[in-house]
Symmetry: C3
Subunit: 358 residues, 3 copies
C-alpha cells in the first residue's frame, strides 16, 4: 500500500510575498460559538449579553464583542499561515468594521507581505501577512468586519530549503468602525444601570493606570477552545509532538493559543474600561511578551494614554489605551515588591494598543 | 502614572439594609448557554430536551429547567453581592414564576435585608438579601421568573471598618409557577414513553428515600462553567489569590461554585424524580453543608416528605421532597458501613427542600 | 424511612431478544450542541461550518456532519442499552438517511437482536441490538436519519442470574442517504476555494494510505462532552465507582466514551478525505481496538480501499475507505521504527469501514 504523509498548513519555504490565500472553510457564528467565547473571558459589556440593551442602542441583536470578532477571523487564517508556526510575534493595525452578529458567515483572505529567515535559528523565519475578514459574501449586508497585519515565526519543513525572501507593500483596505446612529428618541438613561457608572468618556484621564481586580486561571480547557475556533496549530493540541522533543517548543509544553490571553485580557478589563464602549476602533500594535500555560492565572491592567473626539459624533469620544496582561510565577527567595508578593515575580504576557469608541 | 486599583464587587462594610441593587449586565439565554447547563448535569426531563414534547405540553419550545433558571438569575447577583464572599450559607423561599425560554433576557434586582458581623472572625460577616429576576422587561411577555432570599458570608475590605448592621423586612413578591393549561385534545399518552414510567404523582410515597444511582465526577471544567454564567467570584477562578494564603480559603483551594452541585443534584435526581415534573414550585430552604472540589464525584438522594393537591389543577399534584447531595472522601482505616465502603466516608454536601409540580 | 436504590439502565439479565426499547428523552439539536461537537473534532467540511456554502449545495443551512448525527442518535440508546456496559464491541451496518439540521428533534428505537453469556467472565455477556433514529416525528419532514447495529459487553446485576439468551433476525430498515440534487444553475466553482483542492473523487486511488498530519490531545473534557450528549454510562464519569475496584474496569480509570475517538478520527481525517464529501453513506463495520484515556493524543489515517459510481448521480462517486485511529504509548527501551520514534509504541485504537459520497 502506497503511503502518503499529508502535511496540513505551510512551512516557511512555501510562502511567497504577494501571494493571496483565500482561506478554506469560512465560519458561521452560531449561538454556541457566541456563548463560549463571549463568556469564558468574563466580558461585561451589555451589548454582548443583553439583547434588550443591544437593540436599544440600534444593533440588530446581541453584538459579537471585539474579542470574538478577532478570534473567529484570525482562526480562519491559521491553517494556511500558522499551523506550523512556533509563535505569533506581532499584531499590526487591526481595524474593526461592520458589526458581527449570530448567523453571520465570515470568510477571510490573506496576502503575504514578507518572508525573512532567522539569523540565529536556521529552522525558523518570519512571515508577515495582511488579512481581511468579510461577512455574508454575496448578500445585501456583505461587509468587511476586520482587517489586520501580523508577523509570525514559522518552522521550515527542510532546514536547507531556499526561501522566497522579500517584501511587498500592504494593500489599502477600507475598514472603519460602523456604529448605529445616536437616536434622539431613545431613553438611554433608563438602561444606564446595566453598565458601570465609572467607565464613561469623562471618567478616563490620560496618565492613569487601572489595575483590574479580577484574575482567571486557565486550565487544559484551552485545547478544546482552540479546536472549536478551527485553530489547528499543533503546538496548542498535540502533546505527543511536544513529548518527542520538548526543547524545540516554547516552554517544552503545550502553549495556549495567543487569542485566548488576548480575549481574556479584554474581558478582565471590561468592567472598568469596556462596558460602556460601543466598539473597539483599532489596535495599532500588539504582541505576546511571554507564553501562557495551563495552570497560569491571568490578570490585566489598562493605561489611559490619550483621548480624542470621535469624528462626526458629539455623543462619543475615542479613548486611547494600552492593555497589559500579566501572570505571576513562583520565584524562590524573591522579596515582596510593589509588583508581587514575596516568593513570586510578575511576568508580563501581553500588550495591546487599543483605541475604544466610548 | 497614577495607579488606580479598581475593586469589583462589594465588601461587608459596603452593604446597607434596605439598599436595592439593580444588577448590571442582564443575560439573554442563547442556545449555547441552554445546552451547556441543561446537559452537563444530566437533566432527564424531556421538556428541556425534546422540543416536540415541550410544545405538546403547551410550552413555546424547549423549556429552561429549574436549575438553569436558578443559575442564570443567581449569577447576575454575584458581582454586587458575593464577588468577595467566602461562602454562600443558605437559600430561602426560592419561588419559580413564568417559564424561561431561549431568547428571553433576564435582569435582576436585589434588596439588602440584613447585615451582621461575625462573632468569631473579625474579617467576615453575613449579608442577607432578597433577589427577583424578571424577563423581557418592557415587552409584552414581561414576567417574574424567580424570586429568592439568600444569606452569604462576605469578607471585609478593612477589618476595622464599621458595619451598617441591622435588618429590614423582605418585600412581598408575587411569584407563582405559571404552567400551560391541561389540553383535553392533546394525546399525552402518545408521548409517555419519552419519560420514566416510575415518576408520576402516584409513584411517590412519603417516607421513602430514593438513592439515585448515577455519580458525576467534577473536573476543572467548573472554572469555565462559572465564567460562562458571569459568576465572577474570585474563589472559583483565581488560583494565584488562593496560593498566596491558602488558609484563608475553604479547603485551601479553588472551591466549586455552589450553583454547580445545586444543579448537578437536580440533574442526578431527575431520572427518578424530575422527568415527569411540569415545573419546580418552590425551594423553601437549602444550604451547602460541605465544599466541593475538582476531582470529587457527586451523588444525590431524594426523600419524599409529603404530597398535596396542586391548587386549581386536577391533573397535577405537588410532591414535597428533600434533595440531598453527597460525595465520598478517603478515610484510612474506616470500616465498611451502610453508607460507605471500607476506607471511605460519606460527606453530605448539599440539602434542598424542594416542592415539585408532577 | 424506606430506602429505594434505583438502578438506571439495564443489566445483562434484563435484555430479551425481540424486545423493542422506545428510548426516553429524545434530543433537539441546538446551536450549542452543534458547535461543541462539530468543532471539538476539527471537522473541516464547509457544509458543517459555512451556511453560505451549505445553502449553495442545496441544504437548508449548516449540516450536522456524520459524526454529530452518530453521537446524538447513539447517545439516546445508552441509558437502556449500555449504561451498565463495560465496553462497546462493534458497530455494524451504520447507514445515514435524511440530513440533520439545527432545530430538528431526534428520537430513537432499539430492538434487541441477541443476548449471549461470556465464556470466560461470569459477570459479563454480549448484547446485540439494532437502533433507528428518526427526526421530527409527526411533522412534514419526518425521516430516518440513521440506522445501525452494535454489540456491547454488559455487566450482570447478579452473577447467578439466568439470561434470556438467544437471537432474532434484524429488521429491514429503509435508510439511504438523502442528498440535494445537482443544480445546473449553481456556480459551484466560485466556492471551490473553501474546500481542499486535493480531496475530489479523482484524487483518491485505491491502495493508498493517507497518514493525516494532525494530532489532538484529549483531556478530562471528555466527562463534560459525554454528559452533554446524555450519555450516562458510569464508566465515563463516575470516578468513585472506579476507585472502589479499579481492576474491574478497563485500564482501571475512567475510559473515554467511544463516540469521542470515533468522531475525532472523522475530524482529523477531514482535511484530506472528508471536506469535499456531500455525506457519508454507510459504515459497514467498526470497532474500538484499544481504550482511550485523558492525556492520550489521537491520530488518524485513511486507507482507500475502493471506488464506485454513486447510483443515479453523474457528479458523485462513492469512495470506500478504512479509517484508522491510533495513539502512542511510552515503551521504555523500544527502538525507533517506521511506526514510532524510539521509546514509544503505536497502538491502534479504532477502525471503521467508511463509504463516502464525494
Amino acid at each position: 500500500m502506497r503511503v502518503l504523509r499529508r502535511q496540513t498548513g505551510n512551512f516557511l519555504e512555501d510562502f511567497r510575498p504577494g501571494h493571496v490565500f483565500r482561506h478554506k472553510g469560512g465560519k458561521t457564528v452560531t449561538e454556541g460559538l457566541f456563548t463560549t467565547f463571549t463568556e469564558f473571558a468574563m466580558t461585561a459589556n451589555p451589548l454582548a449579553k443583553n439583547a434588550r440593551y443591544a437593540r436599544a442602542y440600534g444593533f440588530d441583536g446581541l453584538l459579537c464583542p471585539p474579542g470574538l470578532v478577532m478570534l473567529v477571523a484570525f482562526s480562519q487564517t491559521v491553517e494556511d499561515v500558522s499551523e506550523n508556526a512556533r509563535a505569533n510575534l506581532e499584531y499590526i493595525d487591526m481595524r474593526f468594521g461592520a458589526p458581527l452578529y449570530v448567523g453571520d458567515t465570515v470568510e477571510v483572505e490573506t496576502k503575504v507581505l514578507g518572508v525573512k529567515s532567522s539569523a540565529s535559528r536556521p529552522n525558523l523565519g518570519v512571515v508577515h501577512v495582511q488579512s481581511t475578514a468579510r461577512k455574508n459574501l454575496g448578500a445585501g449586508d456583505e461587509a468587511i468586519v476586520l482587517t489586520w497585519q501580523r508577523k509570525v515565526q514559522v518552522y521550515k519543513r527542510d532546514e536547507k530549503a531556499e526561501l522566497h525572501a522579500g517584501d511587498v507593500p500592504p494593500d489599502r483596505v477600507e475598514c472603519e468602525l460602523v456604529l448605529p446612529a445616536y437616536s434622539r428618541g431613545q431613553d438611554y438613561k433608563a438602561l444606564a444601570h446595566l453598565s458601570s457608572p465609572h467607565s464613561y468618556f469623562e471618567d478616563f484621564e490620560p496618565g492613569t493606570r487601572i489595575e483590574h481586580s479580577r484574575g482567571r486561571t486557565m486550565t487544559s480547557e484551552h485545547i478544546h477552545l482552540t479546536a472549536v475556533l478551527d485553530n489547528t496549530s499543533q503546538v496548542h493540541c498535540n502533546q505527543f509532538m511536544i513529548d518527542q522533543d520538548p526543547k524545540q517548543y516554547v516552554g517544552g509544553q503545550l502553549i495556549i493559543f495567543g487569542g485566548i490571553p488576548f480575549v481574556l485580557c479584554l474581558g478582565l478589563s471590561s468592567p472598568d474600561v469596556g462596558d460602556n464602549a460601543l466598539g473597539d476602533v483599532v489596535y495599532p500594535t500588539g504582541r505576546h511578551t511571554a507564553p501562557l500555560f495551563a495552570g497560569d492565572t491571568v490578570f490585566a491592567a489598562t493605561e489611559i494614554t490619550g483621548k480624542r473626539d470621535y469624528p462626526g459624533r458629539d455623543d462619543l469620544g475615542v479613548v486611547e489605551t494600552r492593555l497589559l496582561g500579566h501572570k505571576f510565577e513562583r520565584a524562590a527567595g524573591a522579596e515582596a515588591s510593589a509588583d508581587a508578593p514575596a516568593g513570586w515575580k510578575k511576568t508580563q504576557i501581553f500588550e495591546l494598543e487599543r483605541h475604544i469608541a466610548v
